[in-house]
């Protein structure tokens, strides 16, 4: 229980145009003690700008990025394409997790073919789902 109260990650980035979802996800992350800070960017471009701005200060970079696929104008795949071009410091630091309500297996397969993507989760990101994710992350990345 002690562990639950102390967030394991400093900062996560949510990239999603749906503000209600962002609210729910952000609230769940905090409630579950997954991370102490949740940054929301509503589009691929804003997220890329944000990440690039922190390239010189890697400590400020989010450790986890939750990426939605279906977004207006530029979708999640647009973000992934351009993310590869970011400085190595950024790419090394961040773990990308797809968080989407898409059930299209094509979206799943296409995402998992990209090496930068670590996991594909369907919405909603409930407290249960976060607990599973935490366990998985601890196992794979610690």
């Amino acid at each position: 229980m002690k562990q639950d109260n102390k967030p394991i990650y400093k900062k996560v980035l949510l990239i999603d145009d749906n503000d209600v979802d962002c609210y729910i996800t952000g609230r769940n992350i905090k409630k579950a003690g997954f991370a102490s800070e949740v940054i929301v960017r509503e589009s691929s471009e804003f997220a890329l700008e944000y990440l690039e701005s922190l390239a010189s200060t890697p400590d400020e970079l989010p450790e986890i990025i939750f990426l939605d696929i279906l977004m207006p104008e530029h979708d999640g795949f647009h973000f992934l394409e351009n993310y590869q071009k970011l400085p190595l410091a950024v790419i090394e630091k961040c773990v990308i997790i797809m968080l989407t309500s898409s059930l299209n297996p094509e979206d799943h397969d296409r995402s998992m073919k990209i090496k930068l993507v670590n996991k594909f989760i369907n919405k909603p990101l409930t407290s249960d789902a976060l607990r599973h994710l935490k366990d998985w992350l601890v196992e794979d990345f610690k």
């Binding site: 729910i24 309500s101 059930l103 299209n104 919405k123 409930t126 249960d128």
Partner: protein, 737 residues
């Protein structure tokens, strides 16, 4: 006999005559040559005799003249008058002798030149005589004076001139004689030559004659032996003729100019049924049906006027004979004629053609049958939308149409006749790539002797469009070793159009399906997205509210939302199952079942249920993981829904055993069970046991559809109150499918 020999040796006879003629000519020529030579010789002898006499005369004259002169000179020189007179007397008598001799000579003169010379001589003699007389006169009157001397000289001079003319004359005669001599010699030589030639020719002719005579004699001897042979031959020929006549396959009948039967052979007896003895001498018309008799008599007379070898009646006339029993029968008659010592005989060779006519009749009817079947073939082949054909590959590997039905005109634009005369017409309008296909198929068929079927295009020369045809032919090897096909050529343009239309529609359908797929996904996403938001918010209310009623309401909202979410998922999965191809990969049952149970933990009562899984997937199993996940989601959700929570230990047991061919899957619960009357209906679409039961009625229907799609079977066993077991056998889709 001899005549006949000469007849046989006419060329020798002509030769003989020619030789005789030649010999005769030679004899005549010889005679004349000899005669001419004889004449020439006689003439020469004549001339030669004359000349001798003349020369002798000239000599005598010369001597006589000399004597006259001598007598003159003596008369002059003697002084005695008596002497003188004697001398002058002697001189005168000598002179007279000389005159006689000159006269003799003159008679012998034979040509003009001699005459001229002779007269010149006489003239000179006169001169000489005058000079002598003058001298003698002077001598009588005076002494030897210079004048006298001069007269003597003059007299001498005249005498010499006279002598010269004599010499000239004798020279001429000698010359003439020599020339005549040469001529006579030449003539004799020529005659000798002629005679030599004549002798040679005669010898040659005699030899020839001898040779010819020997030959002729030999021939005569031969011919004598032939003559004896001939009698034998004549007898043999007579036998042969009679043998031939009797053994001839045709009836042979000869009639004389009166129309009476003179020859009637054995076969004629057989044909007409008469004996020779009873028919010989009868009129030929006896052997004819009544209606032919009258006109025939006229024909007979006509034939004997200008007999020839020919066929009687001609092709359009049918001739009939009549047997002794009165029966008529068809015959063919050939006519010829003989000239004998007894007059002309017309010979008919007669053949009973009853059998042949029958055969002709049969042939005609079989031809009619053939025509009939040809007509049928034509009618039948014209009723198909194309052509039937018979095709052969000859020894030069060239294809040739033995038969092609009229329908080919519709397909290729050429009539069968045009195709028979030029096979290229058949392949003319075929595009080269199609022609290559066709040729490949034919050469393959030659090798394997299996039927070929090729679809190819032919250019329609009228419209410029391509027609699609299907050529389908069955080969067989003809006894002559060639490969022959019987086949059909069908216009399949309509079918091809339909096929193309089908292709077009199919690709349209695929496109529409893809669009529909995208539509379903994006719609389900758009529908589920707000639902997940609502679920998340409801979670907050449920976990953070202190109001028991609010918490209960939030839970109710959640349950309804989750049911709606499942429904949307099932619609999505149903839609996918119908349209999306099966995509296989190795199935990890454990992961799928764990994830499914995790996803279903929102369902009411899940926490109270004990899940038991027994998985033996030691044989790797290939199938569609997405569909199998859907099957488990629905079966497990169903088992949860119909669990009996009033019992102490609600259990859901999942057993899986994979094998090389199949996987056996069972999902068993100890729930409320299904009444037997519902058991067969639960897999129907939208079937619900009662209005109170949760669910859409789509889940089990979807399970059944997916199991069908994955080539498996689905079975249910249930007892009301004690639980339900679903048994599935799924095919191991190894080998790609």
């Amino acid at each position: 006999m001899k005549i006949s020999v000469l007849k046989h040796t006419t060329p020798s006879r002509i030769l003989l005559s020619v030789y005789a003629g030649l010999f005769f000519l030679l004899a005549i020529t010889g005679y004349f040559v000899m005669k001419e030579a004889g004449d020439t010789n006689a003439k020469y002898n004549d001339i030669s005799g004359n000349s001798t006499r003349k020369l002798a005369l000239i000599g005598e004259i010369r001597t006589g003249v000399a004597r006259v002169e001598i007598a003159v000179l003596r008369g002059i020189s003697v002084n005695d008058d008596l002497d003188k007179v004697n001398e002058l007397k002697s001189m005168n008598s000598q002179y007279e002798k000389n005159n006689a001799k000159l006269e003799d000579y003159e008679k012998l003169i034979s040509d003009t030149m001699e005459q001229v010379l002779f007269h010149d001589m006489l003239l000179k003699r006169n001169e000489n005589t005058k000079a002598r007389i003058a001298l003698l006169r002077m001598n009588a009157g005076m002494d030897h004076t210079p004048v006298f001397n001069h007269q003597i000289e003059f007299q001498n001079e005249q005498f010499e001139k006279f002598q010269q003319t004599l010499t000239q004359l004798s020279d001429y005669i000698i010359l003439q004689t020599a020339s005549k001599d040469r001529q006579a010699k030449d003539s004799v030589q020529a005659a000798v030559k002629h005679i030599a030639f004549l002798i040679a020719a005669t010898i040659f002719l005699l030899m020839l004659m001898g040779f010819l005579i020997v030959r002729a004699i030999r021939k005569l001897m031969l011919t004598n032996s032939e003559l004896t042979d001939r009698d034998e031959k004549l007898q043999t020929q007579k036998n042969l003729f009679e043998g031939l006549l009797e053994s001839a396959p045709d009836g042979i009948i000869g009639i004389n100019e009166k129309g009476m039967i003179a020859i009637f052979n054995k076969q004629a007896e057989n044909i007409f049924g008469y004996n020779r003895e009873e028919i010989l001498g009868e009129l030929i018309e006896t052997l004819m049906p009544e209606r032919f008799r009258k006109p025939h008599e006229a024909h007979t007379a006509g034939y004997f006027r200008s007999p020839s070898n020919r066929v009687m009646g001609g092709s359009q006339h049918e001739l009939y004979g009549k047997r002794k029993n009165g029966k008529e029968f068809p015959i063919d008659i050939g006519l010829s004629y003989l000239e004998t010592s007894e007059g002309k005989i017309a010979i008919s060779s007669i053949r009973d053609v009853t059998e042949r006519k029958k055969a002709e009749q049969q042939l005609r009817s079989s031809e009619e049958a053939l025509q009939q079947s040809n007509r049928q073939l034509k009618e039948i082949s014209s009723s198909i939308p194309g052509a039937v054909y018979q095709f052969v590959i000859d020894e030069n590997k060239r294809g040739k149409f033995l038969f092609v039905s009229e329908g080919i005109k519709e397909l290729s634009g050429y009539t069968p006749e045009e195709i028979y005369s030029d096979d290229h017409k058949m392949t003319e309008g075929i595009p080269s790539e199609d022609l290559q296909l066709l040729n490949q198929a034919i050469s393959e068929s030659v090798k394997t002797l299996k039927p070929f079927l090729v679809r190819y295009r032919i250019l329609d020369r009228e419209t410029g469009n391509y027609k699609w045809v299907r050529s389908n032919a069955v080969p067989f090897v003809h006894p002559n070793g060639k490969t022959v096909w019987n086949g059909t050529l069908i216009n399949i343009s309509d079918a091809k159009l339909a096929e193309e239309e089908l292709h077009r529609k199919n690709s349209e359908l695929i496109k529409t399906n893809e669009e529909l797929d995208r539509f379903v996904y994006s719609t389900s996403h758009d529908l589920r997205s707000p639902l997940t938001s609502v679920l998340g918010l409801t979670d907050f209310i449920e976990s953070e509210s202190s109001e028991p009623e609010t918490i209960e309401h939030a839970r109710m909202i959640k349950a309804r939302i989750q049911r709606l979410d499942r429904f949307i998922l099932n619609i999505l999965n149903y839609s996918r199952n119908n349209r999306v191809e099966v995509e296989t990969s190795f199935i990890r049952f454990k992961e799928i079942i764990e994830a499914t149970i995790y996803h279903l933990n929102y369902m009411e009562g899940v926490g109270k249920i004990q899940f038991e899984t027994q998985i033996d997937d030691s044989h790797s199993f290939l199938s569609d993981p997405v569909r199998i996940t859907t099957v488990f989601e629905n079966l497990i959700a169903n088992a949860v829904k119909f669990q009996n929570f009033n019992q102490p230990k609600p259990v859901i047991r999942i057993e899986i055993k994979t094998g090389p061919g199949h996987a056996q899957i069972t999902v068993r619960d100890n729930g409320i069970g299904i009444a037997p009357e519902h058991q067969q209906k639960i897999f129907n679409m939208f079937y619900r046991v009662s209005g109170k039961t949760p669910g859409s009625g789509l889940g089990l229907y979807l399970v059944k559809e997916i199991v069908d799609k994955l080539e498996g079977t689905l079975d249910v066993q249930s007892e009301k109150g004690s639980g339900t077991t679903f048994s599935i056998i799924l095919k191991n889709l190894q080998n790609g499918k």
